[in-house]
């Protein structure tokens, strides 16, 4: 899709294309964008129209999740506490996008500080699912997924801490990839749970995701967890097919709690790939049932520390009259954070406290190692794993927001991937009524090329990615 868009932009006018998108966004009821970078985007479009340049993404508009630092464009993580914060620097991925000629359109809504899977915890109010305005778009990168699915941006970046790219991709019927931990620099990604998260693309097609990965992946000396080595290329070999590919079906990812339509769509997908020459076998990831508990302990613990810097002293929200230090920053945090963020900070603080550290955090790290070992073992026998991305299709706005546990449970198939640090993609694989279903394909560390190749082969013989919602 992006390839076609680029030739269209060259033939027509990038400025006019962008004006049409901004017009559409203004009329939109999705609430996907939070901040629009209209002026700078149009200026860049005019530059492109004068001199298109040769970048891989020259002239391509892109939407950026609220938690990725953009120089001169407010970056507030959809939280009150960061309202008004305009970063003085670009995240590594933004530098890379700009270097390849992409045009940042604006920032997209998310669960506050990426804490959620429905985009309902945003201080900007919920984003709506383009397929059903009463449903959530998934989260936390719900804004990014909704604007792509709703035709407001051709592609977007999100971030995935426990499923935050794949869940909304699944709910909105588009492609979303969570890369191997360390493949994409996190420099400039406002941290929620820094040992788990990666920036990833949200696009209409697998090929577009591969293209964005070519641009944003690769070593960055400013991120010490960034993998060394040469830059990977994902476009060559993308269409080499799945003949001979061994697919593992983790038995723990099916059965109880999985919606019937979802289960059927995923099995149909596996059989589709089988018909293309792949083979499948059942495998076991025995520690899956401990993944949610370990994930939430680690994520909340890290969050309690990562979010400590938001004290209102240097940037962001300031409330009332300044009093002494403790009173002032406590008041700012009390008013600046929403209830889900507070819940996670409090639980994380508790888990790291003297006397509890060993019982919770350290134990969660041990479970994490076991889960990683599960994946390493499985990938000795198979090339990729296949499962539902989400056990259910998109739910209704407000349906689960007061029941955090049921919300957390929905992450059951996405969080183990972050704990293990392996890559996983969600591709559209069917519908439950009007609502899209996502197929999750997981690969070994730095196995993006295989995952993308399998997803591409599936996409090439299925119509799901071409379906478009009747946008409200």
């Amino acid at each position: 899709m992006l390839a076609e868009l680029r030739s269209r932009l060259l033939a027509e006018s990038c400025e006019e294309h962008l004006l049409r998108l901004f017009d559409r966004i203004e009329k939109s009821k999705l609430n996907g964008f939070t901040t629009l970078a209209r002026e700078s985007a149009l200026e860049e479009a005019r530059q492109f129209d004068k001199n298109p340049g040769k970048g891989l993404l020259a002239g391509v508009p892109i939407a950026i999740k609220e938690c990725i630092s953009t120089k001169g464009i407010e970056t507030n993580c959809s939280s009150r506490i960061l309202r008004g914060y305009i970063p003085p620097y670009d995240a590594h991925v933004i530098e890379r996008l700009k270097a390849e000629g992409a045009i940042v359109m604006g920032k997209t809504n998310m669960d506050e500080f990426a804490m959620g899977s429905s985009t309902e915890t945003s201080s900007f109010g919920p984003t709506r699912n383009p397929w059903d305005k009463d449903c959530v778009p998934g989260g936390s990168s719900g804004g990014s997924a909704a604007v792509v699915a709703g035709g407001e941006a051709p592609c977007a970046l999100g971030s995935d801490t426990g499923g935050s790219v794949r869940c909304p991709a699944s709910f909105c019927g588009i492609v979303g990839l969570k890369p191997t931990y360390g493949l994409v620099s996190r420099y400039g990604l406002v941290a929620y749970a820094n040992s788990l998260e990666q920036i990833g693309p949200l696009t209409h097609t697998v090929e577009d995701t591969a293209l964005l990965m070519e641009v944003i992946s690769g070593h960055d000396s400013r991120d010490s967890t960034s993998a060394e080595g040469e830059r990977h290329s994902y476009l060559p070999g993308l269409k080499d097919g799945v003949a001979g590919l061994k697919i593992g079906i983790p038995k723990e990812y099916f059965g109880e709690g999985v919606n019937k339509d979802v289960e059927k769509a995923v099995w149909d997908s596996i059989h589709t790939m089988e018909s293309l020459g792949a083979t499948w076998q059942e495998v076991s990831l025995p520690h899956t049932r401990y993944a949610l508990a370990a994930y939430y302990v680690i994520a909340m613990s890290e969050a309690s520390s990562n979010l400590a810097r938001f004290d209102g002293l240097r940037y962001g929200l300031r409330v009332g009259e300044d009093k002494d230090w403790h009173t002032t920053f406590s008041a700012i945090r009390a008013q600046g954070f929403g209830p889900e963020v507070k819940r996670r900070i409090i639980l994380g603080t508790y888990a790291l406290s003297a006397g509890y550290y060993g019982r919770y955090y350290l134990k969660a790290l041990k479970v994490r190692t076991l889960i990683k070992d599960d994946f390493l073992r499985a990938f000795k026998d198979v090339d990729i794993l296949a499962s539902p991305t989400m056990p259910i299709p998109a739910f209704r706005i407000g349906e689960r927001i007061n029941d955090p546990l049921s919300l957390y449970m929905a992450d059951v198939f996405t969080v183990p991937i972050n704990l293990a640090g392996v890559p996983a993609i969600s591709v559209p694989c069917g519908f439950s009524g009007r609502l899209p279903i996502g197929l999750q394909l997981m690969g070994p560390h730095f196995g993006e090329a295989t995952v993308l190749r399998a997803a591409e082969a599936f996409e090439a013989v299925t119509p799901f990615h071409e379906a478009k919602p009747e946008v409200i």
Partner: protein, 471 residues
């Protein structure tokens, strides 16, 4: 005397490094406008990430080795979580388990006059927070400003075991530590805030208090003395010492309570996942090879090589710059004479003026020692030359000798003065012959007066005695 137990935590800025601990900002922020040496990383802006300054870790290992520590196989960083305005991330990147260096020791001169071994518990790396500037004193300030220039400076925290028994020993330890750090060329003690001390202190059997963030060695001695007196007074009145954190008020020379144990922080240490584990064991051999000769070894060598008295050798090796100064002088002038004049005279004159050895040129010291060797000047004259040079009232030893008339009087002039003095001192001569050795001093004094002090008093004494004995 009640038993006093003191342990120190010393925060040393590795300020000879060019860039900060986790970012590329320059460490040369002194005399810069506030908040001008900052970047997204040291300001902890959302999304920024730390990157370890490898050179800083190498410096840390160097210090660890010099403090006779064991260097861990691998080391990593932790987050120390607490809220404070000078801490822009809400946590400090520090170390906890597996610090860089553990179980070391250094020798100091104890209060009993004997060398004592002070054990080092650990040395770990961390980032310096910013600096708070209070409008007034800490407990009365109306507002406070923050300067983040210092934020992210590489710090090495050296923690001793509670082996020190007096404020003076604490001072001796700090002097020795500073000396070693400067020998290693990792530290410049002349910069403000380069070394800050937390002192734990208790009387035997009692609870301890911690006096935080004392800058200056004199401050440490004063704070500890005050705290000992305070704790003793409490004990005398049968009041228990409360375990708490106290602040040393440099202006009033007292310590004040800032935090009781009840309000003690739970720092919620946990590993910093943004930084990789460092396998440092393999770095050690190369770093070891760069270690210079350290004070204790140099001191022994000075005794052996130059035939110096041990106290002179100790004094000369207390500072690397002084030791180097001495060795330059001793290359061309008498090593023994040079040691006496540098350790006993020059050092005193420098201290009196609050100057460092850089204020004096090696060539000048060589001239002075050589003139003394050749008896061209008197000892008093040498002292005068040193003072004149230090007070910047002259820059050439020979010219100072000329202008102040410090050249030793010619021998015949002295002889003449001796003869005249003897002729004028019949009574004193008689007294001497009657057995009063002291009577000669009167005659010597007369000679000195006649030569306007240019003669060497000891030489005059010898001449007078010989003349009287002969006649």
């Amino acid at each position: 005397m009640e038993d006093v137990i003191i342990g120190l935590e010393i925060h040393v800025q590795l300020n000879r490094l060019k860039s900060k601990m986790f970012c590329g900002c320059s460490t040369a922020y002194h005399n810069s406008p506030p908040n001008s040496h900052t970047c997204p990383v040291c300001l902890g802006l959302p999304g920024s990430l730390p990157v370890i300054n490898k050179r800083a870790v190498e410096y840390g290992i160097k210090v660890g080795l010099a403090l006779n520590c064991k260097i861990e196989e691998e080391t990593f960083f932790y987050r120390k979580n607490y809220y404070y305005p000078d801490l822009p991330k809400g946590f400090q990147i520090s170390q906890y388990d597996y610090p860089l260096a553990t179980n070391g020791h250094i020798m100091i001169l104890g209060d009993d006059g004997a060398e004592r071994n002070i054990r080092i518990n650990r040395a770990h790396m961390e980032e310096d927070p910013g600096r708070l500037v209070h409008a007034g004193t800490i407990d009365k300030a109306k507002y406070t400003m923050v300067d983040y220039n210092r934020c992210g400076m590489p710090l090495l925290e050296v923690v001793t075991e509670p082996d020190l028994t007096s404020p003076r020993e604490a001072r001796a330890f700090l002097d020795k530590l500073k000396s070693i750090l400067e020998y290693l060329d990792v530290f410049d003690g002349s910069l403000e805030g380069s070394m800050r001390v937390d002192a734990n202190i208790s009387l035997k059997g009692g609870d301890r208090t911690e006096v935080k963030n004392i800058s200056g060695f004199k401050g440490v001695e004063k704070a500890l003395s005050y705290e000992i007196t305070r704790q003793k007074n409490l004990k005398r009145r049968n009041i228990l010492v409360v375990q708490e954190t106290r602040h040393f008020d440099e202006i009033r020379n007292i310590t004040v309570s800032i935090r009781s144990k009840v309000g003690a922080h739970d720092y919620r240490y946990f590993p910093e996942a943004d930084l990789a584990v460092l396998r440092i064991a393999s770095w050690v051999p190369a770093i070891k090879a760069t270690l210079p000769e350290l004070p204790d070894v140099k001191r022994e060598r000075f005794v052996a090589q130059y035939g110096l008295a041990d106290d002179h050798a100790k004094s000369l090796t207390s500072e690397i710059k002084l030791a180097n100064f001495y060795e330059t002088v001793a290359k061309t002038a008498s090593p023994k004479l040079a040691a006496v004049w540098i350790a006993d005279v020059l050092k005193g004159e420098l201290n009196y003026r609050d100057l460092t050895i850089e204020s004096f040129k090696e060539e000048h010291m060589i001239d002075i020692v050589q003139m003394l060797e050749k008896c061209q000047i008197t000892e008093d004259g040498a002292v005068q030359i040193i003072r004149t040079l230090l007070d910047k009232k002259g820059d050439s030893t020979s010219e100072i000798v000329k202008s102040l008339g410090l050249g030793k009087a010619e021998d015949d002039a002295v002889q003449k003065a001796v003869r005249e003095a003897l002729a004028e001192s019949a009574a004193a001569v008689a007294d001497y012959r009657a057995g009063s050795e002291r009577a000669l001093n009167f005659i010597v004094g007369l000679v000195m007066k006649k030569t306007r002090g240019k003669a060497d008093a000891a030489e005059v004494h010898r001449l007078v005695k010989a003349e009287v004995d002969r006649t």
